[in-house]
C-alpha cells in the first residue's frame, strides 16, 4: 500500500495536467504581466522597456486611477462591513426559524448564481431616469415627474458619487446570500449542547450569540471577509454594465474597468498590466491582513 502510494510516476501523471496548465496559463502570464508593466507596450508597436514609468504615472498623474482606487477601496470596505453584518444577521434569523427556512434561504441565494452581467443591466434599467424606481416614485406621487427624481446612476457630486453607492447596494443585494450561507453552515455546525448549557446558566439568546456563536465562527468570518474583499476588488461586471462606457467620464471607474479601458480601448497594454499588478498586490495584502487580524485571534 505504502509503496503503491509512493509511486513517483503515478504522482507525476496525476499532477502533470493540472500543474502544466496552471504554470502555462497562470504563472507564466503573471510573470509576463509584471514584465509588461515595466514597458511601454502598445498594440501594433514594439515593446519598449521604460522601468517604473507606468507606476509613476499611475500613482502621480492618473486621475482616473485615483477615482478607481477610491471607488474600489470603497467597494471593498462597504462590502466587507455590510456583508458581514447583513450576512450574519440573516444567518442568525434563519437558524432561529423553522417554517420556510429553506425557502427564504433559496430566495436570498438566488442572485448569487445568476449572471451579474444580466443583473447589472437589469438594475441599470431600474435606475434609469425614465423607468423603474423613478417611474414608481412618480406613480406614488412622491415626485412630480420621472425626470425630477434622483439621477441614481448619473449624479457626480460628492466624494463617493451616488452611482458607486447605488452599485455597492446592488452588489450587497446580489452577494449577501453567499455570506449568509457561509455563516449558516458554520452556525449549524455548532453543537446544540453548548447553547443548552449556556441557557441553563441563564444566558439570553443575544448573549449566546455574542459570547458563543461569534467566537466559534470566527474562522469563517475571516474566510467570508477575504472572499468579499477579493470579490469586490475584482468587481467588473456590475460596474461595466450599469454605467455605460463614457458616461460620467473617469469618475465611476473601478480598478478592473480602468484596466479594461486603458488596455483594450486605448491600446496601452503595458499600462493596463501595471494596473493589473496593483490589483494583484492589493488582493494579496488584503487577504493576508484579514487572515492575520480576524483569524489568528480566534486561537488566543
Amino acid at each position: 500500500m505504502d509503496k503503491l502510494l509512493r509511486n513517483k510516476k503515478a504522482i507525476i501523471m496525476f499532477i502533470a495536467p493540472a500543474f502544466i496548465l496552471f504554470t502555462l496559463v497562470l504563472l507564466i502570464p503573471i510573470c509576463k504581466a509584471v514584465y509588461y508593466s515595466f514597458c511601454n507596450y502598445k498594440t501594433l508597436h514594439p515593446i519598449k522597456f521604460t522601468g517604473v514609468d507606468n507606476y509613476v504615472k499611475l500613482f502621480t498623474k492618473d486621475r482616473a486611477m485615483r477615482a478607481a482606487l477610491k471607488n474600489s477601496i470603497f467597494f471593498m470596505v462597504f462590502s466587507i462591513i455590510t456583508q458581514f453584518i447583513m450576512g450574519l444577521f440573516l444567518a442568525a434569523l434563519l437558524t432561529n426559524i423553522r417554517a420556510g427556512r429553506n425557502l427564504f434561504k433559496n430566495i436570498y441565494y438566488l442572485p448569487c448564481v445568476l449572471s451579474s452581467a444580466a443583473l447589472g443591466l437589469l438594475w441599470m434599467f431600474i435606475f434609469t431616469p425614465k423607468l423603474g424606481i423613478n417611474q414608481m416614485m412618480a406613480s406614488f406621487g412622491w415626485i412630480a415627474d420621472c425626470t425630477e427624481g434622483p439621477q441614481w446612476l448619473f449624479n457626480t457630486e460628492g466624494f463617493i458619487i451616488l452611482p458607486i453607492i447605488v452599485i455597492s447596494f446592488v452588489a450587497l443585494w446580489q452577494y449577501v446570500g453567499q455570506s449568509m450561507m457561509l455563516y449558516m453552515a458554520q452556525i449549524s455546525g455548532i453543537s446544540s449542547d453548548i447553547y443548552e448549557a449556556a441557557a441553563i446558566d441563564g444566558c439570553t439568546k443575544s448573549q449566546a450569540f455574542f459570547k458563543i456563536t461569534l467566537p466559534l465562527i470566527r474562522p469563517m468570518i475571516a474566510t467570508a471577509m477575504s472572499l468579499n474583499a477579493i470579490g469586490s476588488l475584482k468587481f467588473f461586471d456590475l460596474v461595466y454594465n450599469m454605467i455605460p462606457e463614457g458616461f460620467l467620464g473617469d469618475k465611476a471607474h473601478v480598478l478592473a474597468t480602468h484596466m479594461y479601458t486603458q488596455a483594450f480601448k486605448f491600446n496601452k497594454l503595458g499600462y493596463g498590466c501595471a494596473i493589473g499588478v496593483v490589483l494583484l498586490v492589493m488582493c494579496l495584502v488584503v487577504t493576508l491582513l484579514i487572515n492575520k487580524f480576524v483569524k489568528v485571534e480566534s486561537y488566543t
Partner: protein
C-alpha cells in the same frame, strides 16, 4: 405555579411577536429579491410605448416577438449554445484534471505535496484581470483568440484551484480501509483512483461541477476580451453588447435579460437545495 405559567405564556407571547417581526422582515426582503425579477419578465412582454405610459399594467397582449427578436437578432441563440459548449467542456476537464491532482495531493505520499497544494491555492487569490493582457497577447499570436478553445483553457485553469481544494478534502475523508482492501485485491494506484476514489467523492464532483459551471456560465471579462466575433460570443458577452449604437429598445433588452437568466433560474429551482448545500459545502471547505 400560576406565576410560572404566566411567565412562560408571556415568554411565548413575546417569542410569537418576535417571530412575527422576523417573518415580516424576511418576507419584505424576499419581495425585494423577487420583485426586480418579476418586473423584468412582465416588461419583456410589453412594447416600449406601453412601458413609458403605464409601467405597472400587465401587458394586454404578450409581445413574444421581443423574445424572437432577441433570440435571433441579438444572436442569443448562438450565444446560449456557445456558453453551453464552453461550460460543459470546461466542467469535464476541470473535474478530471482537478480530481487527479487532488488525489495525488490528498492520498499519495510524497514530500512536495503540501508545497504543490499551496501552489494551486495561490490561484484562488489571483484575479483573472492580471493575467488577462499577457494571455490575450499570447493567445492572439497562437490564433486562439476568437475560438471557444481559447476561453476554455483559461476557464479550466481558473476552475482548478477550488476543484483541487474541495476534491482533496473529499479524498481525505475516504476511510483508509477502503484503499487498503483495494490494495489487497491487487488494485494499482490508478484503479484505486477510478474505483474507490471517484465513486466515493461523488458529492465533491457535484459541488465542484456546480461551482465551475455557474462561475463560467456567468464570466464576462475574459470572454469579452478574447471573443470579438459574433458567432463565438458567450451569453454574458452577447447580452452586454445587445444595445445597438443607434437604437435602444427597452422591452427587447428585457427579453434578452430574461433569456440569459431563465435557464439558470430553472436549474436553480429544480436543484435549489442541492445547489445551495453543495455550494455551501464547497465554500466552507474553501
Amino acid at each position: 405555579m400560576s406565576a410560572k405559567t404566566e411567565t412562560i405564556s408571556v415568554a411565548n407571547h413575546r417569542t410569537k411577536v418576535i417571530h412575527g417581526f422576523i417573518y415580516a422582515f424576511l418576507i419584505l426582503l424576499a419581495i425585494i429579491y423577487l420583485l426586480p425579477l418579476a418586473w423584468v419578465v412582465i416588461t419583456s412582454l410589453k412594447d416600449d410605448a406601453v412601458l413609458m405610459i403605464s409601467p405597472w399594467e400587465l401587458p394586454a397582449r404578450p409581445m413574444f416577438e421581443n423574445y424572437s427578436f432577441a433570440w435571433t437578432m441579438g444572436h442569443l441563440g448562438t450565444a446560449t449554445l456557445n456558453s453551453f459548449i464552453v461550460c460543459s467542456i470546461t466542467l469535464l476537464f476541470s473535474m478530471i484534471f482537478g480530481a487527479m491532482a487532488a488525489f495525488a495531493i490528498a492520498r499519495m505520499r510524497w514530500k512536495l505535496s503540501k508545497l504543490v497544494l499551496t501552489y494551486f491555492m495561490i490561484g484562488m487569490m489571483i484575479p483573472v484581470h492580471c493575467v488577462l493582457i499577457p494571455l490575450f497577447v499570447q493567445f492572439s499570436s497562437l490564433k486562439l483568440s476568437n475560438t471557444l478553445i481559447g476561453i476554455i483553457i483559461p476557464y479550466i485553469t481558473f476552475s482548478l484551484p477550488i476543484t483541487i481544494y474541495i476534491m482533496a478534502g473529499f479524498f481525505e475523508g475516504i476511510p483508509d480501509e477502503l484503499f487498503e482492501s483495494a490494495c489487497i485485491d491487487g488494485c494499482s494506484v490508478y484503479r484505486m483512483f477510478t474505483t474507490v476514489g471517484i465513486p466515493l467523492a461523488k458529492t465533491g464532483f457535484m459541488v465542484t461541477g456546480l461551482m465551475s459551471f455557474v462561475g463560467n456560465w456567468n464570466e464576462l471579462l475574459l470572454a469579452m476580451v478574447f471573443i470579438s466575433k459574433e458567432a463565438k460570443k458567450t451569453l454574458p458577452v452577447s447580452l452586454t453588447k445587445f444595445v445597438g449604437p443607434y437604437h435602444t429598445n427597452y422591452c427587447q433588452m428585457f427579453a434578452a435579460i430574461v433569456i440569459a437568466v431563465i435557464p439558470t433560474i430553472i436549474v436553480y429551482c429544480v436543484f435549489a437545495n442541492q445547489i445551495v448545500e453543495g455550494l455551501t459545502a464547497g465554500a466552507v471547505k474553501g
